[in-house]
Amino acid sequence: MTAADKANALREKFGDLLSGPVEFRGEVALTVADVNRVAEVCEYAKKELGFDYLVDLSGVDNYGDDPRFELVYELYGYGHGCHLRLKVAVSEEACEAPSVSGVWRAADWHEREVYDMMGIRFAGHPDLRRILMWEGYPHYPLRKDFPLAGKPTEMPDVAFTNPAPLEGGPFVTNPGACSSDKREPRAKSFES
């Protein structure tokens, strides 16, 4: 069975909950319409379709779109060698998704990282706390409205942060086509 067949089997089981499959560069992606049922879809994919390996779980921030966040589950099955991608949209108000750490234990740390970086909470996660930044850090760094330089914070006895001196550039840019004269500094006249 190819990945497209697996995707169609998943679609037959869940009907309108899934849309797709979309093929791009040889990969198959399905979009799950309701975030609250994504754990169900994942469990079916693991138990019935043999996707026993959760390769990756990432969060994407589409700032300006509604719903704002997107969770991307990258699945693989050792038995059949097919990749499958499941995408589900998470709105900013709810900012919550069911945890799949009961389905694959690898999801434990992946979900902690998504929580740390994007702020999406996972219901049913055994130990949801920050993993890359420290407990008590008030911001979610990978959100688009958080600047690359960072914001000043202070937690005595734990950590502090200061914004990095980016001086307005280089490498501060809006994604999409952007020419380097807006991204990188040019010879400036002295204006101290």
């Binding site: 390769v55 990756d56 990432s58 990258e74 060698g81 234990r105 994604p175």
Partner: protein, 419 residues
């Protein structure tokens, strides 16, 4: 100038008194269990990993790993750079095998661009040579550090000497000892220099002897076996469930290697075996790594024999900078050069995931692009991050001195784990 921050650290006695005052209020019978902090700065934690261990005498009852001490914000930086500009950051992910990271990243971006099938064969062979050399280098250091932590200090010096020869080769090829930034989108940055392949062949002969020597020092050594056999055992199902990849997965008996299952570059034309462990203990993972080094040496020999001549970059001005003589004389190349340098390669919108078989496991890049020269989201699926997730489950039940052996056998790199 930079500002100076004054940090007041209370002295140890005051902190202990504070901690003890808070302890009376807990339910733990604090006379029985001890909490030991294998802190971020520790010789055997292979980088900045913090383990908080709850001990009942010598036995571990609970282990809480704390990562993120080397979190540098790579993924956010990637959203602000063109694809080629991000290559130096990929070097510093798994900093023991930078060439392999470069190749994995370049392949991921080329998959998005749709040119990964159009890479010229010479470029593919060069990339395979880079990957396998990086694999030998990473395993040498992994084994050296593992052996040093377990007690065999000499092995570390032997493997480091071999790594210095690898560094010499890599320096001649790329210009830097490590942190090479060698690949580019659409090819590699420069061709193999004259006589390099002969030197590589000579090196392969030497490294084979050295691998045999290292194995003689360790494999049948009763002390090493006592410290690593039946320690840190996890089954194949657990390995798959926890998402382990690479030698950590194969040590438990799962016959899976990305290079065989989903071949990329020219691995489908090369002949090599994949070593598999049987029990899933530290010793099996060690043996898998030693055998993998031997297989890498075989692969390198095949590549040296079969490498064709020809171009090293994709012949497409939209991805690869054109030759300088053309840029200065011809209009089309001038425009390509201008667009590539100012805006970066213009990649189509879409999402792609590509995973490569790195020495530490499966290094994957998930690129979500909305068009243009910078990614909208670049997620690095780091094998060490996922591999460390098993520690909470694996460590309880072992003794404190086994922790060192387990950490060494898992062979992780914090640069990759924390990105």
């Amino acid at each position: 100038m930079s500002s100076v921050k004054d940090i007041e650290i209370k002295d140890a006695a005051a902190r202990a008194a504070e901690a003890a005052a808070g302890l009376d209020a807990t339910d733990d019978m604090h006379g029985e269990k001890m909490v030991l902090n294998m802190g971020p700065s520790h010789p055997a934690t292979h980088g900045v990993l913090r383990l908080t261990l709850e001990l009942d005498g010598e036995e571990i009852v609970k282990a809480v790993p704390d990562v993120g001490y080397l979190h540098r914000g790579d993924e956010k930086i990637a959203e602000n750079m063109t694809y080629n500009q991000f290559i130096p950051y990929t070097d510093r992910l798994d900093y023991l095998a930078p060439l392999a990271n470069n190749v994995a990243y370049a392949l991921a971006v080329e998959k998005l661009a749709g040119i990964d099938q159009a890479l010229p064969p010479r470029c593919q062979y060069i990339r395979v040579i880079c990957c396998e050399l990086a694999r030998i280098s990473a395993h040498l250091l992994g084994l050296g550090a593992f052996a040093m932590d377990v007690g065999a200090v000499t092995v570390f010096l032997h493997t480091f000497t071999q790594r210095e020869y690898i560094y010499d080769l890599i320096e001649e090829l790329t210009g830097a000892r490590f942190t090479t930034s060698y690949t580019r989108i659409g090819g590699v940055s420069r061709d193999v220099p004259e006589g390099w392949l002969t030197k590589l062949e000579k090196f392969i002969g030497e490294v084979r002897v050295n691998i045999d020597e290292t194995e003689k020092l360790l494999s049948r050594n009763p002390i090493f076996q006592d410290r690593t056999k039946d320690i840190g055992v996890y089954s194949a199902e657990e390995a798959i469930d926890f998402g382990m990849t690479g030698p950590n997965l194969r040590g438990s008996g799962v016959d899976f290697d990305m290079r065989k299952a989903h071949p990329y570059l020219v691995y489908d034309q090369l002949d090599f075996e994949v070593p598999i462990g049987s029990k899933g203990d530290c010793y099996d993972r060690y043996i898998v790594r030693v055998e993998e080094m031997r297989q890498s040496a075989n692969l390198l020999e095949q590549c040296i024999r079969e490498i064709p001549g020809g171009a090293i970059n994709v012949d497409d001005g939209k991805f690869v900078l054109p030759k300088k003589e053309k840029v200065l004389t011809s209009m089309e190349e001038l425009i390509h050069q201008f667009m590539l340098v100012t805006q970066g390669t213009n990649l189509p919108p879409g999402e792609v995931y590509f995973g490569a078989e790195n020495p530490k496991g499966e290094l994957g890049f998930y690129i979500h692009s909305k068009g243009g020269g910078t990614p909208h989201r670049l997620k690095i699926r780091a094998p060490s991050f996922v591999n460390l997730g098993i520690l909470q489950h694996l460590l309880p039940g072992h003794m404190i001195s086994d922790v060192v052996a387990i950490l060494g056998s898992l062979d992780f790199v914090m640069g990759e784990c924390d990105r």
